[in-house]
Amino acid sequence: MASGSSIGVGVLFENAEVTTSGRPVLRRNEVECFLLSSVEFDSEDDPPRFTTLKSGNLILTTHRLIWIPSQSNGAVPSSISLAAVTHIYSHKKSIKSMFHSPRIRFQADPGAIVVTIVFRGKGDIDGFLTKFWECWRGRAWEEEEKSESETSRSGSGTVAQGLYGNDGTVRMVGLAGILRKEQEQWESTDKSLQDAFQDLNALMSKAKEMVSLAEKMRQKLLSAPSSQNGSTDDEEMGSKEEMQQWMLSVGIISPVTKESAGALYHQELSRQLADFVRIPLEQAGGMISLTDMYYHFNRARGTELISPDDLWQACTLWEKFDVPVMLRKFDSGVMVIQNKSHSDEEVMSRIRMLVTKTETLRAGVTASDAALTLKIAPAMAKEHLLTAETKGLLCRDMSPDGLRFYFNLFPEIDPTSQHIAKDFGTYGVWVKATSMLSV
């Protein structure tokens, strides 16, 4: 709904109506032209001619300058009609202005008050100024007056003319309506993107500050002598630890931490992980690779994901606590988490049962065969088979078909009586099994 009269009568700043989500309510034919954040309206006169409007978003439309406060600190959205503007000062850039926030001045009635717009955020000031001039020169409000007086002359005006209905909303009729609708959608998307990026820009500049501050802290920690005379200053250590804590929570790994017994962050993570690990471990049959656990854990966390390095650190800390799980590294380099109670013996006996079956005596097993039968991940199965090979339970067969493992018959083969097929022992079983194939 249009508020007030089109020309400020006796008032410089009018109240601007906004929607519940803080967007300005525009008048009929009013179009937004420019948007800037972190803008201040100042009176540079002494004494000031009006109260400063601090920290708000500036919206330039074809009809008005609208100011919407960014914080609800009691300030009210206000606007100045462009019709009230009498003069726009040109933007002189001087050496002095390089160090200050950019300012644009204009003069408005009533009272020929000079208003200074201070731009405290990032934005295209020159672009704004150009648009400001355009809109002011465009005098869009005068056309509106014309059509207003026309419709009022022609009667109660229940019949909507053109694009706009009587209540000021755009009528979506005909091709023009469709085009207009698309235009509006595009504009609103564009604006919300602009808004988002404004926020992001502000965030990024803050983040930069934070990181450089953290870097300074880190340097300080590094250079600070840890224990010169052998006695550590308790207070200093305390604040040092605090700093480490804080830096870790911001996501920066302190080099000092790696030397120490492990910062609190890693300790807590370690305990949390030990609890979490129980169920996936059970499901995986008692042994799970570190990479699989990384996936499970982060998936469960949802946000605040931990890095692979954090995970590994947390696992290595288990040695220091009394937890029922442990990190284990195979010869091949594969790292797994397993229950302390997990016994290799148990897995070995299961493998033994698998490979002494007639079929597998003859044909051997691949890692994937073993994975299926033992119900564990193929990478885990391979590790187990390799371990069994090292223990002498299995031996390997390498061929273009791939790597297979067989029950190790070598110990049972007696070189001095090679040609006597033993009737007992697995070798005998194997001989029988293979002799059934026509050779």
């Binding site: 090292t390 002498g392 390997r396 067989y406 190790n408 070598f410 083969i413 194997w430 293979t434």
Partner: protein, 179 residues
């Protein structure tokens, strides 16, 4: 049981892991032992004195199970035989291997026996005759590898049991026994 010519192959010749050089030490040692015996037995039965590592030596592959020894495995097994003194590499590149399923000393003893059996104590013979002559028919000396024979003869020469002398050509190399 499989056969290669008239040689009976042992059952484990059909065991696929037999054809893969085993990485685990204990297993490998057993495997090497089995291969050593097999190679020596086979060469003795077929009177094979020389194995080329890259040759199609029948023991090196088993078409029934579609497996064959890698170059690395062949060299490993032959080197093991060399290490035991039952074979010799003829070249630095380990491409040709002389198989001594009888040691040189054993061959030398056989020559002495041959000399006694045929009353050749003070006689002269060509080296070639020892190998292919009628006297050697049916004996182990028949068809003996020339290199091995020369080595055995040289060994006996050092012991004063004979004297080697050159003839007009290589074929006429001769031996004077003084057993």
């Amino acid at each position: 049981m499989q056969k290669l010519a008239d040689f009976k192959l042992p059952p484990f010749f059909n065991y696929p892991p037999y054809f893969t050089l085993q990485p685990v030490r204990d297993t490998r040692e057993k495997q090497i032992q089995l291969w050593k015996e097999l190679i020596l037995d086979y060469c003795k039965s077929q009177k094979i004195f020389l194995i080329g590592v890259e040759d199609d030596f029948p023991l090196f592959s088993n078409s029934a199970i579609d497996r064959s020894l890698s170059h690395e495995a062949r060299e490993a097994f032959l080197s093991a035989i060399v290490g035991e003194g039952r074979a010799e590499w003829l070249d630095k590149g380990h491409r040709k291997c002389l198989i001594l399923w009888h040691r040189i000393q054993d061959w030398a003893d056989m020559i002495l026996q041959f000399v006694r059996d045929n009353g050749l104590e003070d006689s002269v013979m060509t080296v070639e005759e020892i190998r292919t002559g009628t006297e050697s028919h049916g004996t182990e000396l028949q068809g003996i590898d020339r290199t091995i024979l020369m080595r055995a003869l040289k060994l006996l020469e050092n012991k004063g049991k004979l004297a080697l002398f050159k003839g007009t050509s290589a074929d006429d190399e001769g031996v004077k026994f003084s057993v």
